[in-house]
């Protein structure tokens, strides 16, 4: 195990703003904390809240890097706070809420609402070929490698890092983000989904979909699950461009 440097005092500059408070304005507030062994931002923020400032708002759920609740801007870069070890940070750390999403307060943002809207729009579920499942019978087989490829894209935790890092998302309120495009790529790969490229074109064949992406690729760089986002977006763009070409042809 890597050792934590002994005896550091850490300084956290945290963006504070409670929209529920009439007349409140955003400000930076500084907290200092003695570093402990194996300290993560989950531990640090909870300690600040318990011992220094009980009003500080932030979100953690699993604290194990699998649920996607705790994404925030850590020194200007979106990442999961729970698995960020303070020993990998300098003496001063700036924490801010993810941009793009509706702010709830301090470091807490409403990713859930954004993701639900995106899911409803892109219909992010398997559109079954037949109604009903005869679940008493042996399941339909699937190629083992294909199942693994689908899982690779299914690992998205909807943390919002890709959206927070996205240039298009800043400019286009309705852009579905890498998270949305990756989901379509995932269902496109899944033979259980009855939808065709023409259906997917209806969902993402515009500037709020795959053609809105400017290929800045921050989504790919900041994805905590290291999903192959740039490859998937490029692939979907090629497929959708072909689709559009065929559809728009006189």
């Amino acid at each position: 195990m890597t050792e934590t440097p002994r005896g550091r005092t850490l300084e956290f500059q945290i963006l504070r703003y409670n929209p529920q408070e009439p007349g409140a304005v955003p400000r930076m507030q500084t907290y200092t904390l003695d570093e402990a062994d194996g300290m993560t931002l989950f531990i640090a923020l909870n300690e600040i809240r318990e011992k220094q400032d009980p009003s500080l708002q932030f979100d953690f759920v699993c604290r194990a890097g699998i649920c996607g609740s705790c994404a925030m801007m850590i020194n200007g870069r979106p990442d999961l706070a729970c698995r960020t070890l303070t020993r990998n940070l300098g003496l001063e750390t700036t924490l801010a809420p993810l941009p793009v999403f509706e702010l709830i307060g301090d470091l807490s943002v409403n990713t859930g609402k954004w993701m639900r809207t995106m899911s409803e729009r892109l219909e992010t579920w398997v559109h079954m070929k037949e109604e009903g499942v005869d679940f008493k019978r042996i399941e339909a087989p699937m190629d083992a490698d294909l199942a693994e490829k689908i899982y690779e894209l299914d690992r998205c935790i909807e943390c919002g890092c890709c959206v927070a890092g996205c240039g298009t998302a800043r400019m286009r309120e309705d852009f579905v983000g890498a998270v949305g495009l990756n989901k379509i790529a995932r269902f496109r790969l899944d033979p259980r989904d009855a939808r065709t490229d023409a259906d997917y074109y209806e969902l993402i064949g515009d500037d709020n979909g795959v053609f809105g992406c400017m290929s800045l690729l921050a989504c790919h760089d900041v994805c905590p699950k290291k999903l192959p986002l740039s490859t998937q977006i490029a692939f979907m763009r090629r497929k959708m461009a072909g689709m559009g070409w065929n559809q728009e042809k006189p």
Binding site: G38, C67, E120, V133, A147, D154
Partner: protein
């Protein structure tokens, strides 16, 4: 006063709550799901290793069926489970896993032919059947006779939750995220819904429903060291307890998972050991075979956790500045296996410990993991004492886990219970029994009472600190109500917790920020959590035997003569400092599998006076039914199918148990 009406109010947006809401919705009833967090962030997400369902596809799962799954689960429970409920569960699990396959869960599939696996520390080649190619794969888990655990690498809960949460969106079921039920609205006989707090604005509303379902998961955060998410504080169970009319069953039955990273307590799936990982001590010695020659690392979780702590007490723990621990060794599985089938494990080791499990050992020690107890219900999920209240999943005690749950049975239970209870809720809502004359005065009274409680804490100038009280509670639970329990320590724990409960009535806040106010959230939750902690500690104090995960050093034997019964805890008066305990006998005369030795763990136990006679009856029935099929024998021993909703009845097809009719073309 804001009042929201619906048919089914589901409290909890994890797998159980989502699946039962989908069931009710598909039967034409409206449902609203309340969730502390976005549904896909629920703790169901954290299930890594897999879901037990006796498909018997994999070579090492061949011969598996409901009967084997049933016996494993009952033995695992140390005979504390309701055997009829276990039967309902094992018959529905294959249907649940196949439904999820159709819904898009990318289950890990079988590749036909030879593959190398690690069994008992040895590399072994097994050959998968050609006809199993592409079907759901199974891996080995603790306490099971066959490889039965279906999985999606080690992100099973994640993949299941994603698919089921998306199905709920497909069904247009609203999830009211960041809301919390503070109290059930009831008149002592009928539940009418809940008082709900908005965790963004802090405002209270009443949600009024024909049926209310609690699916809020476990209460791991009663403990300092737990694998559970920070939202697993048992508040759903606590509000049921606070009605005074609903019993919590077997709250003293608390599971400790053997392999959680030390000291953070994050789960390392049982799949690590199921796939061939070993436990080693300070000397690098593999110690489990010394204690458990039959099942070794793959005995049930209660047994492995105790053996680990026992080994540490013998001075064989590795030392670190945080204390002592043991080592989990998965290096023998190889890089390809770890990076494909145990990738979350790899990530967690990498990010939290800075170790590479391909080459390095993982420091582990047991932590609290699962709440076997919960809201006591009938096999239908309905409360026997408060009409219109249902409960499913980890929050419930219906009771399929008894005193110890097998790995892979909880995530399976979430969807199975969601399917079963969803049907029964729909039946209830379709029947005149669900008609309710809802007294608005009662609703107003409940909302005002909750508002007054919150206001008192906000306005009280001087008083106790909520997070200090919470920390003290967690220390007491981990220190004195843990893996090894003694009467004297439990006495101390109960006394200290009672004092804390009294102190918690004097909590004053330091922060008065408008909105949700995180300090206020901690304050009202810790008052509820202390009541739960007392049901655990007091239940453990009174139960003078050892059964499953409840281990009393001063009463080390399982005592069926005295204790083959389920604890029922109620909270009679708001100002009580102890739950009232009552007991419900388990009827040996109706058991399909009468009590005996589990096949691992301690061999001495005290028999129930009816056990010998029942055992003789069971053997006679086996004799009479020799030569008939297994279903006839089962039916003769303990008929249960009438307990299942009609759509979930019926046999499950397997490669070795084919139905006569050919598969429909699309699936073949």
């Amino acid at each position: 006063m804001n009042i929201i009406y619906t048919d089914v109010l589901v409290i909890g947006g994890g797998l159980a709550g989502l699946r039962l809401a989908i069931g009710a919705r598909r039967r034409g009833h409206d449902a609203i799901i309340l969730s502390l967090v976005p549904a896909k962030r629920s703790h169901s997400k954290a299930a890594q290793g897999g879901m037990q369902a006796s498909l018997g596809n994999a070579a090492k799962g061949q011969g598996d069926n409901e009967d084997v799954h049933f016996e494993d689960t009952v033995r695992g429970s140390d005979w504390g489970a309701d055997q009829e409920v276990v039967r309902m569960f094992v018959n529905t699990a294959p249907k649940a896993v196949r439904e999820l396959a159709a819904w898009g869960v990318p289950w890990t599939r079988i590749r036909k032919g030879d593959r190398q696996v690690v069994i008992n520390g040895q590399k072994v080649t097994i050959t998968e059947r050609a006809e199993a190619d592409g079907l759901l794969s199974q891996r080995d888990f603790g306490g099971t006779k066959k490889w039965r655990t279906c999985y999606v690498a080690d992100g099973t809960g994640h993949a299941m939750l994603t698919a089921v949460a998306d199905q709920a969106i497909a069904e247009s079921i609203p999830v009211h995220e960041r809301t919390e039920a503070l109290a059930l609205i009831h008149d002592g006989k009928r539940c009418y819904g809940a008082v709900v707090r908005d965790l963004v604005t802090g405002a209270l509303s009443a949600y009024v429903a024909r049926a209310t379902a609690i699916a809020t998961g476990g209460a791991g955060r009663l403990y300092r060291n737990t694998t559970n998410a920070v939202i697993s504080e048992g508040i759903g169970s606590a509000i049921a307890l606070e009605t005074g009319h609903v019993a919590l069953g077997n709250m003293e039955a608390v599971q400790f998972h053997p392999t959680t990273i030390f000291p953070a307590g994050i789960l390392m799936t049982e799949g690590c050991r199921g796939d061939g990982g070993l436990l080693r001590d300070v000397d690098g010695h593999r110690f489990m075979p010394d204690y458990e020659p039959e099942k070794k690392e793959l005995a049930s979780r209660d047994v492995v956790s105790r053996r680990m702590e026992e080994h540490i007490k013998r001075g064989k723990g590795a030392r670190s500045r945080f204390g002592e621990h043991l080592w989990l060794d998965i290096t023998l599985l190889g890089e390809h296996h770890i990076k494909h089938n145990l990738r979350e494990v790899w990530e967690i080791c990498h990010y939290f410990l800075g170790v590479d499990p391909v080459k390095d050992l993982i420091p582990v020690r047991p932590s609290q993991h699962y709440t076997m107890g919960g809201v006591r219900t009938r096999p239908t999920g309905e409360s026997p004492t408060l009409r219109g209240l249902f409960c499913a999943g980890e929050a419930a005690c219906w009771d399929m886990h008894g005193f110890n749950r097998l790995g892979g049975n909880s995530v399976a239970e979430t969807v199975v219970a969601g399917m079963i209870v969803g049907e029964y809720i729909a039946d209830f809502c379709s029947s005149p029994a669900a008609d309710a004359t809802i007294p608005t005065a009662l609703i107003r009274e409940f909302v005002e009472r909750e508002q007054a409680k919150l206001d008192a804490m906000v306005k009280r100038g001087q008083g106790e600190d909520a997070s200090l009280i919470k920390r003290e509670m967690q220390e007491i639970m981990t220190g004195k109500v843990g893996i090894f329990r003694t009467g004297s320590e439990l006495d101390e724990a109960v006394e200290s917790l009672q004092k804390l409960l009294v102190r918690s009535r004097r909590i004053a806040l330091k922060a008065h920020s408008p909105g949700s106010n995180p300090e206020l959230v901690t304050a009202y939750r810790v008052q509820k959590m202390l009541k739960l902690a007392l049901t655990v500690a007091h239940g453990a104090q009174v139960r003078t035997e050892s059964r499953g995960a409840h281990f009393r050093q001063d009463f080390p034997r399982r005592d069926d003569a005295q204790w083959l019964k389920r604890t029922l805890a109620t909270w009679k008066d708001e100002y009580d400092t102890l739950p009232t305990l009552a007991y419900e006998d388990l009827d040996v005369k109706r058991m399909e599998l009468p009590p005996g030795w589990r096949g691992y763990g301690a061999k001495d136990y005290i028999d129930h006076p009816d056990t010998a006679a029942r055992q003789a009856e069971v053997e006679a029935a086996r004799g009479r039914n020799a030569g008939t099929d297994r279903f006839a024998l089962q039916e003769a021993l303990m008929p249960y199918e009438q307990l299942l909703p009609e759509v979930l009845r019926g046999r499950n097809e397997r490669l070795d148990e084919r139905f006569d009719e050919p598969l429909p073309k699309a699936a073949a």
